[in-house]
Symmetry: C2
Subunit: 168 residues, 2 copies
DNA sequence: GGATATATGATATAATATAACACTATGAAA
DNA sequence: TTTCATAGTGTTATATTATATCATATATCC
């Protein structure tokens, strides 16, 4: 089945509870390997492990939650351990930071340098990652009119996801 | 001169260095008075003072910077003093929180409950507040398609303002 | 191997935000 | 007018998120 252009603009939807969680972590790590190899970046064990933990959490996760998990295998991990790995992963487009949550989430399309919009559920903190053309163009147009140049278009919108609407 | 529809969608532009700073603080406080009176809210001296300090800073300001200024007149002000006032001002649409900066900025149109988009300069931390129809609609359309309901549409875009582009 | 840059370890501290409980002022109910 | 209830503020302590700094290790290049 061919993906419509509309589907491609949804980089990561709200998660169906059905999908194969283990596999999506494996795929994400493989994609990261590819990106780093291509760009000559050193994807060290620490960085890989942090990325794995982020994907395993399967949603935005905070730096200190990450640190706690990391300590299961690295007893003396400290905040800078995590923050340095996060910096590397962000600089190279492997994860995004969600400002509204002070949390970090795996990027659903790391091989492509893309703008991103996040829909963030205020109840369950799940997020959807989009690269919606219309939103992007509307933002670009207005920014241009004001002489504002967008370096990395990251849009965050807070609301309520469908699951929470049904549940609450 | 009549405002175009386009102008109305720019709630607060990047500041021209020429405008009358003192007057815009006065106007903002007057508008807040009006809003609170209309809604039966108690606009206490503390809350007024915090709002004044925010407008006086004339751009996004952090809670602890605010606290420091507040202490000039309230020697024993503490973090909760500021955060409670900020909560009140946010709940009632008199200020916005800029997540990307951990900072607070006066709302340019408090009498109207509106969606907002912020263009945030990563170099000088200035912001422009917009209520762009096209951005709003594009976001709404996509959210709807995903079953996501937006409660308060707040969009934050990071980049570089025209002044900084010229200066750097 | 020695020089250089990159990555991590380790300790301390900064910056942002909230919890908890006490006290005061205000205004309505009795 | 007393009493009660609520909203607002004071005060102290603590939680959460992020960075600075210096030391050590590891990889890369010549
Ligand atoms: Zn992405
Ligand atoms: Zn939800
Ligand atoms: Zn506003
Ligand atoms: Zn600027």
């Amino acid at each position: 089945m061919k993906k419509s252009s509309d589907d491609r603009q949804v980089i990561a939807p709200f998660h169906s509870h059905a999908h194969d969680h283990g596999q999506c972590v494996v795929d994400a790590i493989a994609a990261a390997e590819t990106c780093c190899a291509k760009d000559g970046l050193s994807f060290t064990p620490l960085r890989r492990q942090v990325l794995e933990l982020i994907w395993s959490s399967h949603g935005p996760i905070g730096a200190y939650d990450l640190l706690e998990k990391l300590r299961a295998s690295r007893r003396n991990a400290a905040p800078p351990t995590v923050y340095r790995a996060l910096d590397f992963l962000m600089e190279n487009g492997l994860i995004h930071r969600i400002e509204s949550l002070n949390a970090y989430v795996g990027c659903g399309d790391p091989e492509r340098h893309h703008g991103a919009q996040f829909l963030i559920c205020r109840d369950c903190q799940c997020v959807a990652e989009l690269d919606d053309d219309e939103i992007g163009k509307a933002v670009t147009r207005r920014a241009k009119a004001l002489g504002f140049s967008i370096h990395q278009q990251t849009v965050e919108v807070v609301g309520q996801c469908a699951d929470c609407a049904a549940r609450l």
